[in-house]
């Protein structure tokens, strides 16, 4: 990657000047850091996916594509892939729909708006793993706060029952974990749309007012199209975050029972504890998916306009 920044051999070697090295002084450390921390691990990971590695980390030899064939043959693999798709798409779609409404709400003028907006950032600032742990506590089958409230509302009959042990029942657990993922994704998405809303000039709405447009048609015809760039970026950043998300599932169910609530990220982590090569193969697939999302991101944003 650093090839482009390093001075290329000029056509006439004698006109080589030291000043061509100055960019390296300014930008070089950043390139080195990215190289060591981000690029090198990718190479090591791809290498590991083609090696036979003992559980304690020793390379036992070349594995060809064995790690991949073993991974595809895992009984849990197809389920994990499907769940990852449901997890990512479900969380992002619901997050975006709620965020559009929340942004509209927090864009309106009312007394105390600053405080309300401040409350909104709390789940964003707090560590996701700790938020996940609160929900795990609140779903405790004996006296979790969510169960207590459901019981008082008459929606839950018995504590310490199958009904109240949400996290022991894979579909219910997965649903609750998606809810937590939505909860922690809402602040960023809402703020992204809010900043999009604030960039729409008031004057644009005046013409519509003269035409006597209703609020809803005004929103659909003017606001939504102008929010498009904000929505696209928010969606893609959310897709990356939700796809890579580890703490929620890990802290609430460890991906279990067995792999029944795992996504590819937690599956990779569990595999890593005994089958490093296979885990690397899962990582390579995860990384390939991330690359696809990043390419879509780069093509849909106008990053070049800002750079030039």
């Amino acid at each position: 990657m650093s090839v482009d920044i390093a001075p290329r051999l000029p056509a006439r070697p004698f006109r080589w000047r030291l000043s061509r090295l100055t960019p390296l002084i300014w930008v070089g450390p950043a390139v080195v850091l990215i190289g060591v921390v981000v690029i090198l691990p990718v190479i090591v990971m791809i290498q590991s996916s083609l090696q036979k590695i003992s559980p304690d980390g020793f390379v036992l030899g070349d594995a060809g594509f064995n790690n991949f064939t073993k991974l595809f043959a895992e009984p849990a693999f197809v389920g994990v892939l499907l769940r990852t798709a449901i997890w990512t798409i479900g969380v992002v779609v619901v997050t975006m729909v709620i965020s559009l409404a929340l942004a509209q709400l927090f864009n309106a003028r009312f007394p105390g708006r600053r405080f309300a907006r401040w409350a909104l950032i709390v789940p964003w600032a707090a560590s996701v793993m700790m938020t996940a742990l609160i929900f795990r506590w609140a779903l405790d089958s004996n006296n979790g706060a969510i169960n207590v409230v459901l019981n008082r509302l008459g929606l839950l009959d018995a504590f310490n029952s199958n009904e109240s042990a949400w996290l022991g029942n894979p579909p219910a657990a997965f649903g609750w974990m998606m809810l937590v993922a939505i909860f922690v994704s809402l602040p960023f998405s809402t703020y992204a749309i809010l900043s999009g809303l604030q960039s729409i000039p008031e004057e644009i709405y005046e013409a519509a007012d003269l035409d006597g447009a209703t609020k809803w048609s005004r929103y659909r015809a003017i606001t939504l199209p102008l929010l498009r760039p904000a929505i696209i970026v928010a969606v893609l950043i959310n897709v990356i975050n939700v796809f890579n998300s580890f703490p929620i599932i890990w802290e609430m169910t460890r991906g279990g029972p067995a792999y029944a609530t795992s996504t590819t990220t937690t599956f990779m982590f569990t595999l890593k504890q005994s089958f490093i090569g296979e885990s690397a193969a899962m990582s390579v697939i995860n990384f390939a998916i991330v690359i696809i999302i990043v390419v879509i991101y780069l093509r849909s944003t106008r990053w070049k306009d800002q750079v030039d």
Binding site: G57, F110, A125, I134, S245, S283, W303, V307
Partner: protein, 300 residues
């Protein structure tokens, strides 16, 4: 839509409220009701976002013998959990988290500032390639390359704190470069040149003119890096699992309260509260600017 038209009407015809015609007064009244209803909904939403963290604080001060009780509020506040975790070495983990987050923040500052400044001021061969690399790494997260990170840093054989500083800095630098680049680009070169005409050196001009003007961007980048590194869990868990407990950052320590058969909730949430409150306060300072940094390149 009404507010704008009314504002205009009011400017043309600034009548006192009493003299307004009845329909107009009614409209002002519905607007007031609308505001009140909006405010109530917004406060309710705000409360929903706060409730989990209020519950965290409640459990942290719940007396141990009420941990199985179904009362939502404890009979009284008991702060012994904080005393116990402190005496069992929590301070060491707090220090480790501070070292990791602080170290990563300083490293990001040292590396991102020159790169952002240079790319904002100079066109050079490879500039676009460099910025593309930065933008792409902003979308990468350690989770997708964890096996590689673990195996690479195992070979490096560094103390875990140093490894975590490097990794957190590497993955957060992109955000810092983008936001700083935007700030530097928006400051006219002429300001620096004017200072240089007055006798300042290039570095002096940057230090005295450009950097103070870019300070909001610098602060945002620093606080964001600090918070992300402070909250990081997956890499910390991977690299410090076998390390002495004092070398584990807070997220890993708190995760350790989860036992195979039972969870030490009281101590867990006391620790979580100590870890969470400072970052919420820090985040409040940069709330407005983070979005523009994260979405840089697409929304302006």
């Amino acid at each position: 839509m009404t507010s704008l038209m009314e504002k205009k009407a009011a400017a043309v015809n600034p009548l006192p409220e009493k003299a307004l015609a009845p329909p107009r007064r009614r409209r002002a009244q519905t607007r007031r009701y609308r505001t009140i209803i909006l405010a109530i909904i917004a406060y309710a939403v705000a409360l929903i976002f706060l409730v989990p963290y209020i519950e965290m604080a409640i459990v942290a001060v719940r007396p141990a013998n009420e941990l199985l009780s179904r009362n939502l509020l404890p009979s009284h506040a008991d702060f012994s959990n904080f005393v116990t975790i402190w005496s069992s070495g929590f301070g060491g983990n707090l220090a480790t988290s501070l070292e990791v987050a602080g170290g990563a923040t300083i490293l990001v500052l040292l590396v991102a500032l020159p790169a952002a400044y240079y790319t904002a001021r100079q066109r050079f061969r490879g500039r676009t390639a460099f910025l593309l690399l930065v933008l792409a790494t902003q979308m990468f997260q350690p989770a997708a390359m964890l096996v590689g990170i673990q195996r690479e840093f195992l070979n490096f054989n560094l103390p875990p704190t140093i490894s975590l500083i490097l990794i957190n800095a590497g993955f957060n630098m992109a955000f810092a470069i983008w936001i700083l680049n935007a700030f530097f680009s928006s400051i006219p070169v002429e300001l620096e040149e004017a200072a240089m005409v007055d006798g300042a050196s290039r570095i002096g001009a940057v230090m005295r003119i450009t950097l103070p003007l870019a300070l909001p961007g610098v602060v945002t980048a620093l606080i964001f890096t600090f918070i992300t590194a402070w909250n990081e869990f997956l890499v910390a868990l991977t690299l410090t699992l076998g390390a002495p407990s004092g070398q584990q950052p807070l997220t890993v320590t708190i995760n350790n309260y989860i036992g195979q058969y039972s969870i030490d909730w009281g101590h867990l949430f006391a620790g979580a509260l100590i870890a969470t409150v400072p970052v919420i306060i820090l985040f409040a300072f940069i709330e407005g600017r983070v979005v523009s940094g994260l979405t840089a390149g697409a929304i302006k």
